[in-house]
Symmetry: C2
Subunit: 346 residues, 2 copies
């Protein structure tokens, strides 16, 4: 069984959900867990649930807060729960890391501790959206707020590898997020990436061109590529829109007794829909492009989300993504090397 380090102090409501989720994961034999954080607080939190075998504590005296500068915090807070979790993975004491903390700091820890995989420009974070026909991966969801075109071209390779291995899509359809489908749209960044991705090379994915925010839900794409700023806005907007619709629906239902009876009859329908749309079910977002397995959970993660993050972390450790990434990046390198050579010649 794989062992997963859980940064127990990083999330908005830490360490409650982290501990409860870890206890559940261990009890369900998804993985062995090392909870990393303030020993005293973790012990008193564990006492609420009982201490299962396979759950251990590794003390860490510092915490990286959500509003800290990611790079500075990851570098200077050597005894933070997040940094220590990554060190455990680096030294082979655990197989993977789960954290609901500062996503930028997680990226920085990935870079400083696990290190970039050879040939990878910038690692990124992948998140998954439910669609009519399955799942669609979005990369990057927030780690790299400012990107080069080369980085986005690599995200197409990394994201499609993720979709191939973990969503079983043999030749993923990849779209580049823009403000319209026409090639004249986009920014300097997207136009550069579009040029690279359109190169007539033998690729492990099918590049479909520019796509819009709505396309991620249609099921016609397996991967959507964007910078971390835009990816974060897309993710939060989708969450906000779906939350708002359910609230407005509830408001309208409560206006009439007919509405209340109808809603009662649709109880199971709503339950199944909620489950399909539930971000907590998807088990967090992997940091892709570093030499190791690290799963980022939402800052507001509840125990279920942490438990699912641990489950996914264990299965990713099993799948050995890093070596597949190195190979695929090498195969597609002409895409960004041509552009980089052109830049250097100027």
């Amino acid at each position: 069984m794989r062992t997963v380090a859980v940064d127990a102090m990083g999330g908005d409501h830490a360490p409650g959900p982290e501990v409860e989720g870890a206890v559940a994961a261990v009890r369900e034999k998804l993985a062995q867990v090392v909870l990393v954080g303030d020993e005293q607080r973790l012990n008193s939190e564990i006492a609420k649930h009982g201490h299962p075998k396979g759950l251990t504590i590794r003390h860490a005296s510092q915490v990286i807060a959500m509003d800290e500068h990611p790079g500075v915090a990851a570098k200077s807070k050597k005894d933070s729960s997040m940094r220590v979790s990554f060190e455990l993975a680096k030294h082979g004491q655990v197989d993977a890391v789960v954290s609901a903390g500062n996503s930028g700091a997680m990226m920085a820890c990935g870079l400083f501790v696990m290190k970039r995989l050879s040939g990878v420009d910038r690692p990124g974070i992948v998140t998954t959206f439910p669609t009519k026909t399955g799942l669609c991966a979005l990369m990057d969801m927030g780690a790299n707020v400012e990107c080069r075109p080369q980085t986005l071209a690599q995200f197409a390779v990394l994201g499609s590898l993720y979709a191939r291995v973990l969503h079983s899509k043999p030749k993923p359809k990849v779209g580049l997020l823009s403000n319209g489908e026409e090639a004249s749209k986009g920014t300097e960044l997207t136009r550069g990436a579009h040029r690279m991705l359109s190169m007539p090379l033998d690729k492990d994915f099918e590049y479909v061109g520019y796509v819009e925010g709505k396309d991620i839900f249609t099921g016609r794409l397996d991967v959507v590529v964007t910078d971390g700023f835009t990816g974060n806005v897309l993710l939060k907007t989708a969450e906000g829109a779906s939350g708002a619709i359910f609230e407005l629906l509830k408001e309208e239902i409560l206006k009439s007794s007919m509405g209340k009876v109808g809603a009662l009859m649709l109880r199971n329908v709503f339950k199944r829909l909620r489950k399909k749309l539930d971000w907590d079910e998807h088990g967090g977002a992997p940091l892709v492009g570093v030499d190791g397995v690290a799963i980022l959970c939402h800052g507001r993660s509840n125990a279920k989300a942490i438990k699912n993050g641990i489950r996914v972390a264990a299965s990713f450790a099993e799948a050995k993504l890093p070596s597949a990434i190195t190979e695929s990046i090498g195969k597609h390198a002409a895409m960004w090397e041509t552009e980089t050579a052109r830049e250097n010649a100027q």
Copy 2:
């Protein structure tokens, strides 16, 4: 009664919805309408509905397509339906323009023909989202894909003026869209704008700082400011997410007879909810910051959306926004002038 020019050739399904919407608007006495486009096609389209008094045609031989370069098309296609519509407004033959065409070209026509209002850096396009407690304005929704920090600071002024005059919010709450609420988040662009908006000046709006994509739906904000690339992604994502939820809901409902009966009882609830979320009801998105009134409708607009666009265009012409904008931009100028002076000194 106000007279509105409708670019009848710009939308994805033009001129059908444009003509039908214009006929309906004239019949409902919302405005007089000048349909601008290919005379022969427009006449044969009008023949389907009957030709009401107050509806006239102005021939234009060219069309700006969705995939054309906005600036080039707006400048070179002098007899395009969009450009001619703007010329009619410029020369006082109509009070406002409505178009479902290329949004970038519309922005370019606003700049070339109506001209920027004095002191305005870049005009932008405002769109409106339904929230629990009313409406939230988003600026820019797609016209300015690459912005300077100064432009975003001005969007706060322009957007809040819009919210004050048209949504009756005396002191609008304005948020700056970012990838997290902490001041350490964001890009170089948002950090520059945040610095300007945080200056301790007497403002006509309340700046609440960085906000996330989900915040636009909560009702705690009246205006959200962002660049046109990100604004377009937010808008399309919200549309896509709400569409996907209703499709998934329908799918789940059809799985059981209990579901079908419950849905029947909720028929009116769904109808009211759909109406609240219906983008076509909001009557298009105004181009703010030019010396005139121009309303952009969605490329896929149906006749109802065009009709509502005409209604809003007529009421905007009534409200005389341009002079209020000039005044408000002057009042808040210290915000961006300090930054511009600093840049020039470097």
